[in-house]
Symmetry: C2
Subunit: 82 residues, 2 copies
């Protein structure tokens, strides 16, 4: 069993209203030194695979087909034995 | 300037309906080898601080005060120069 940790983020050029709202809330709480906030998803996926390469391939395919929007988002995949 | 990468996850004992729905959708797409999915947030925060220790302290404080729900969620903070 392998665990893939997938991070899906909005591309830098895409406006992130959730991040902006969080930044604003942090400033209201006195966190003046926070310059910018962006919010993405962190997906943990446990995969039955024969090798970490196979698990990585499956995680990539899942991102391409479902988890990430290729127009607006980038993703990273980390695989570890679990 | 430092960049804190904060991962906020539901505690293992808390049901994750978004992860369950994603798991179900993956199975419908033929990803039979996916055993379990859990979904959390990945927050990038750029912080003006004199040292990485100070940036880490501020990121922790922001999690405690706003970003994570201590009853249901755990968080991790990674800090790097940006």
């Amino acid at each position: 069993m392998y665990k893939a940790t997938i991070t899906v983020r909005l591309r830098q050029s895409i406006l992130d209203p959730q991040g902006k709202a969080t930044h604003h809330a942090l400033q209201n709480l006195g966190f003046d030194s926070v310059d910018r906030v962006r919010i993405g998803k962190s997906i943990e996926m446990w995969i039955d695979a024969g090798s970490s390469e196979e698990a990585r391939r499956k995680a990539h395919a899942a991102c391409d087909k479902l988890l990430a929007n290729p127009v607006m988002e980038d993703f990273e995949v980390d695989v570890a034995e679990a």
